[in-house]
């Protein structure tokens, strides 16, 4: 999997799958526009270290996904670098777990705003840049909860399901412009949030249902995203790739 000479935009780079994808993409040779919400010193130093280790450019882009003007500014910053854009990984997102009767409208609107509306808006801008490049690859992060359902995650799952429809539709709309559009659907992934639950055995019932009998790592999702960004997946488009260790 090679991303040498490619310039990719990755959102949600400060933690979890986004952070792992930034590392995997840089390791594969890509220059990365690393999109995050707030500037943090330890992130800046991690970026500097990764840049020198991989001999690539990593350009942090700070903006707030809940604010349209902020998104527009971020795109302007990316444009000002005058680099052709070859890839976009839409990873930023939030959960908003609550049982169905307890869902509050303001919370629901917030989760949809962050996980869907804002990212559509951002992607619209990036697609224009990609069309100028002559093509590219977009990878969206859905979830197996969007396909299988998960109690307590009506809102989150619905936002992630919206990416399945978007992925398939965009593949059809943008394919003729040589832009491939795919999604990954991660299963149970070890993250800061789930690690304690896993260690305490609170996820045992879920893990028992996984063929590989373990949770996945963020790096394993990142590798799939890098594969879909790279030319190794040159004829793959409109697909939803489950990365779930096998759930029957």
């Amino acid at each position: 999997m090679n991303l040498k000479g490619k310039n990719v935009i990755i959102t949600g780079c400060q933690q979890g799958i986004g952070l792992a994808t930034m590392k995997a993409a840089a390791t594969a040779g890509a220059n990365v526009f690393a999109c995050c919400q707030t500037q943090k010193e330890d992130f800046d130093s991690a970026v500097a270290e990764l840049e020198s280790k991989c001999n690539v450019r990593i350009i942090p882009v700070y903006f707030d996904f809940s604010d349209e003007a902020s998104i527009k500014n971020a795109v302007k910053q990316i444009q000002s670098e005058k680099m052709p854009i070859h890839g976009l990984a839409n990873i930023a997102g939030m959960t908003g777990d609550s049982l169905f009767p307890m869902i509050r409208q303001d919370k629901m609107e917030m989760v949809f705003k962050i996980n869907f509306f804002s990212q559509i808006y951002f992607t619209q801008y990036v697609v224009r840049l990609m069309q100028r490049t002559g093509g590219g690859s977009i990878v969206n992060v859905s979830s197996i909860s969007a396909i299988d359902g998960n109690p307590g995650q009506v809102v989150y799952s619905a936002t992630k399901a919206s990416w399945i429809a978007t992925t398939k539709t965009l593949s059809k709309e943008l394919g003729p412009n040589h832009i491939r559009v795919n999604a990954v659907a991660p299963g149970v992934i070890e993250s800061l949030m789930t690690k304690t639950l896993i260690d305490e055995g609170k996820m045992d019932n879920k893990i028992k249902k996984i063929s590989m009998n373990r949770a996945g790592k963020t790096s394993e999702v990142a590798n799939a995203i890098v594969y879909l960004l790279s030319d190794d997946s040159s004829y793959v488009t409109g697909q939803i790739l489950r990365i779930d260790g096998g759930i029957a």
Binding site: R180, A224, S234, Y235, V236, G245, G246
Partner: protein, 247 residues
């Protein structure tokens, strides 16, 4: 991506299999290259790949539908004492006939090669993989297994059978470190296309999002990815490599 791994790939003389063979060699794998009949050209080709990529490509020629021959071939692999990390079940034959015109003889023959032989070979090889607690199996299915294509009731059924088999293998052997996935190529530029009228091929191209045929390299690269440790948490999946074939 496959440095230090050993793979068995079936049907490597031409088409998609030949390209998988080359891509695997390029990525550093040692390979048992299966073909039905051993010809000097095939042996030469394997040798040239070995030299070009500094790997070991060993021809392993037998008729997949001959169970004695298969057993003997598996013995050769076992005798080598080398672990077998990857199995790619690529060999297959196509058959086009409308449902009401398909003959029982053809139906049986197609299942013999495209499914029964694959099932048996995978049983043998997966036993070795379970013993070493590691392995990746890739079955080459087809979009014809997932979509309803006129004339493909027989071929599509054999390829659909592979999908069910793969998913069950993923569940049964996941705990033993064996992953199993399918690649489902769409309309791909190989000899198999010659059996299809030009107009049908053009229509298929128009029906893809990318407006082109798949090339064997496109399919081979997907197989390399799923076979590699980069796909370490992917199992039981069917990856369509079809350029976005409109269904």
């Amino acid at each position: 991506m496959l440095m230090g791994k050993t793979a068995l790939i079936t049907g490597t003389r031409r088409g998609i299999g030949k390209e998988i063979l080359e891509q695997f060699a390029m990525n550093g794998a040692n390979i048992w290259a299966h073909a039905r009949v051993e010809t000097p050209e095939f042996v030469d080709y394997c040798n040239s790949l070995s030299k070009k990529y500094s790997v070991k490509v060993t021809p392993l020629c037998f008729e997949l539908t001959d169970s004695e021959a298969m057993k003997a071939a598996v013995k050769i692999i076992m005798k080598s004492k080398e672990p077998i990390d990857i199995l790619v079940n690529n060999a297959g034959v196509t058959y086009n006939a409308l449902f009401q015109m398909s003959t029982e003889a053809q139906l049986r023959e197609e299942f013999e090669t495209n499914f029964f032989a694959v099932y048996k070979l995978t049983q043998y090889i997966s036993k070795l993989m379970v013993r070493q607690k590691n392995g990746s199996i890739i079955n080459i299915s087809s979009t014809a297994a997932l979509d309803a294509n006129p004339g493909k009731s027989v071929y599509g059924s054999t390829k659909a059978a592979l999908i069910c088999m793969s998913r069950v293998i993923a569940v049964e052997l996941g705990n033993s470190g064996v992953r199993c996935n399918c690649v489902a190529p769409g309309v791909t530029n190989t000899d198999m296309l010659e059996s299809m009228p030009q107009a049908v091929v053009q229509e298929a191209v128009d029906n893809t999002d990318l407006k082109r045929l798949g090339e064997p390299q496109d399919i081979a690269k997907a197989v390399v990815y799923l076979a590699s440790d980069k796909a370490s948490y992917i199992t039981g999946q069917v990856l369509r490599v079809d350029g976005g074939l409109v269904r």
